[in-house]
Amino acid sequence: MNVASADNYNFAYLDEQTKRMLRRAILKALAVPGYQVPFAPREMPMPYGWGTGGVQVSAACLVPEDRLKVIDQGADDTTNAVSIRKFFQRVAGVATTETTTEATVIQTRHRIPETPLKEDQILVYQVPIPEPLRFLEPRETETRRMHALEEYGLMHVKLYEDIARHGEIATAYAWPVMAEGRYVMTPSPIPKFDNPKLSDCPAIQLFGAGREARIHALPPWTKVVSLDFEDHPFQASKADHACEICGSCESYLDEVITDDQGGRMFVCSDTDFCSTRSNAQQSGAA
C-alpha cells in the first residue's frame, strides 16, 4: 500500500478495495463500449455534480508515475479544474501538467483537448447524466430495458421532431452517439464540435458519473457515430471566427464580452492549445 502524503490518505485517496471495485467496472465498461456499468460510488470530499465520478475514475487509474492534467471548459485554470488538480497533488502526489502532450491522464469537463490524443493517454470525462435517453424517459427501469432491446426509436423521433420544428437538430452539446454500432451513449456535455474526436481515438476514454453511479467507456479506436439522418447529416460547428490570441480557425472558441456596448472577442477555449500556438508564433517571429 502506498501512503501518499502527510495527510495519511491512501494513494489517490480511495482505499485499494474501492479502487479494485472501480477498476472492475472500468474493465467491464471497456469490454462493452457505450454500456453504462453500475458501480458503487463513494462520497468524495467534493460535491456530487462537481466531478466526483471523474475523480473516482481518475483515482482508480492513477499510478505514482502518472502526469495528470485537469481541464474544465477546455482550460487548466478554471476554478474547479484547479480544485481537482490540487486534490490529486495532495492525495496522490502525482506530477501535474498543463501540456496535453505531456499528460498521461487527463480529467476533463465539457471538452476534448484540441491537440490529438495519443495511445498511452487516458481521457477521463466528468459526466452529469450518463443516460442519453433520460430526458425522453425519466425512469431508469425503462431506459435500461430500451438499451437492452436496442430500442432507440424514441431518440430518433426526438431528433426528427427537432428538424420538423427548427429545420435542424436543435442540440448543441451532449449530442448522442452510437458506440461501435450497439449502444447509444452520451459523450457528456461536450459541444458537438468535439464529437468527431470521439471516434477512432488512440487514447482510452472513460466516462464517470458519480451521483448516478455509472461508468461507461470507449476503448481505443472505437467507432463512434453521432446520431443523424442521411438527409440531415451531423455537422460539427463552432463560432465563425478566428481566435484573437493565436489566430486559430480550427479550435473551439469562447465568446468573451469585452464591454457593455456589445463588444466581444473570441478566444480558444483550450488554453494549452492556444498558448502553445502563440508561443510558437513568438519564437518563430524572434
Binding site: 453500475p38 458503487a40 460535491p47 456530487y48 485554470d77 476554478t79 427548427h166 436543435a170 452539446y173 459541444p191
Partner: protein, 362 residues
C-alpha cells in the same frame, strides 16, 4: 482581460481564507466549543448523524461548527469523512424492544403496558419566545423524575395487534440486507434497501412526501401505533470469540404506523405496517419515514395502482439523498461557457433561419 474570466488558484485560496474568517464571526464573542454544540444543539447533531449515516456526536458537532450551522453542509462533511473509514464488520440487529425509552407514545391506545411516556418533547409547549433564555447564566431547574426503572423492557404496541392477527405479520427480515453504500442502487428495490435509503434521506424531502400522502396523493390512513425514543445497545459478533459482545450504545427514534387495508382476493382485511428508524432524537423524520415506507409498499400489498409521488419508488429513492441533490443542484454554479457558447450559436443560427424566409431581410 482574458485571464479575468478564468478562475485562479489565488482566488480560491483567498475565498477560503475569507470563509474561515466569516465562520469565526466577531472574535470579541467567545468561540463555540464542540461540547456546547453537542449538548445544546443536540437535535442538529442528531440530524447530521442520521443523514450523514455516522453515529458520532462529537464529529457531528465539529461538522456543524465547521459548516457554520449549515446542516446539509455538515452532513456532507460527515459523509465525506465516513467514506474513508474502514469497515470491519456488521453489528447484530439492534433490539428496539429492549430500548431504554425516554419517550414512548401510542396514538392508537389510551393506555397500554409500559404506559405513555411523553419524555423531552416540544409537543405541548406553547411556541412563545422565551426571553429569559436571552439572558445568559440562568440555571435550569431540574425536572422531576418518576420511576426511572422499568423503562428498558417496554413491549411494542404492534405486538398486541399482531397477537390477534389484526395486523400483517412482520417480515421475517433474516436475509442479509443490501448495502446502499457499497452497491449501486438497483431498481426495483426491496423494502430493506428502501428503508436504508429513507433512513439517510433528507428530512425535509421525506416530510413533504409524507405530508402529500396525508393530503390525498397516495393516502395510507396512518395511525401512530407507537413512537419510541431511547438508547439501545449495539452488539457485534467477533469471529475470534464466537459470541456477541456489546460494543456501544446508540440513541434511536423508532416509529411504527398502523394503516388501513381493505384486504384483497387472497387476504382478509387487516391493518398494515409502516416503519421508520432514525439515529438520535428525530421523531419528525421517523414519522415521515414510516408514512413513506407504507406508501411505497402498495405493490407488495396488492393495492391498485394510483400514481402519487410518494408511491413511486424510483422517484423517491432517486431524489431523497440531500448530498446528491445539493451537489448536483449547486453544480450549475460551475462555468458552462462551452455549452452556453454552443447554444448561443445554435440560437443565432435558428433565429437567422427563421427571419430570412419571411422576407424581412435578405
Amino acid at each position: 482581460m482574458y485571464v479575468a474570466v478564468k478562475g485562479g488558484e489565488r482566488a480560491i485560496d483567498n475565498a477560503h481564507a475569507w470563509l474561515a474568517e466569516e465562520r469565526r464571526g466577531d472574535t470579541a464573542i467567545a468561540a463555540l466549543s464542540i461540547a456546547q454544540i453537542r449538548e445544546q444543539l443536540k437535535l442538529s447533531v442528531d440530524r447530521v448523524m442520521a443523514e450523514g449515516s455516522l453515529y458520532d456526536p462529537d464529529l457531528a458537532a465539529l461538522a456543524i461548527k465547521q459548516a457554520r450551522g449549515d446542516l446539509i453542509e455538515a452532513i456532507f462533511l460527515i459523509r465525506a469523512y465516513r467514506t474513508t473509514l474502514p469497515r470491519f464488520g456488521s453489528s447484530l440487529p439492534v433490539e428496539t424492544a429492549r430500548m431504554a425509552v425516554i419517550r414512548r407514545i401510542s396514538a392508537t391506545y389510551r393506555d397500554l403496558p409500559g404506559g405513555q411516556v411523553l419524555g423531552p418533547t416540544f409537543d405541548y409547549t406553547h411556541r412563545l419566545l422565551d426571553f429569559a433564555l436571552a439572558a445568559e447564566g440562568l440555571d435550569v431547574v431540574e425536572a422531576p423524575s418518576a420511576n426511572p426503572e422499568g423503562l428498558d423492557n417496554v413491549p411494542h404496541v404492534m405486538g398486541f395487534l399482531n397477537r390477534e392477527s389484526l395486523i400483517e405479520a412482520p417480515g421475517a427480515g433474516d436475509e442479509v440486507p443490501p448495502d446502499l453504500t457499497r452497491n449501486p442502487l438497483q431498481l426495483p428495490a426491496n423494502r430493506a434497501l428502501r428503508l436504508q435509503a429513507l433512513a439517510r434521506g433528507d428530512e425535509g424531502f421525506l416530510l413533504s412526501l409524507a405530508y402529500s400522502t396525508q393530503r390525498g396523493y397516495g393516502n395510507t390512513h396512518a395511525f401512530v401505533g407507537e413512537l419510541r425514543i431511547g438508547q439501545v445497545t449495539v452488539e457485534a459478533e467477533l469471529p475470534e470469540l464466537g459470541f456477541a459482545i456489546e460494543i456501544g450504545e446508540i440513541e434511536l427514534s423508532e416509529c411504527e404506523t398502523v394503516n388501513q387495508f381493505g384486504g384483497s382476493k387472497s387476504e382478509p382485511p387487516q391493518f398494515t405496517r409502516g416503519y421508520g428508524l432514525v439515529f438520535g432524537q428525530s421523531e419528525r423524520k421517523a414519522l415521515s419515514m414510516s408514512l413513506v415506507d407504507r406508501a411505497l409498499r402498495w405493490k407488495e400489498l396488492g393495492e391498485s395502482h394510483s400514481p402519487a409521488p410518494a408511491r413511486d419508488e424510483e422517484f423517491v429513492l432517486s431524489h431523497c439523498d440531500n448530498i446528491q441533490a445539493t451537489g448536483f443542484l449547486e453544480h450549475i454554479k460551475l462555468p458552462h461557457y462551452v455549452d452556453f457558447q454552443s447554444e448561443l450559436e445554435l440560437v443565432r443560427r435558428l433565429r437567422a433561419a427563421a427571419i430570412t424566409p419571411s422576407g424581412k431581410e435578405e
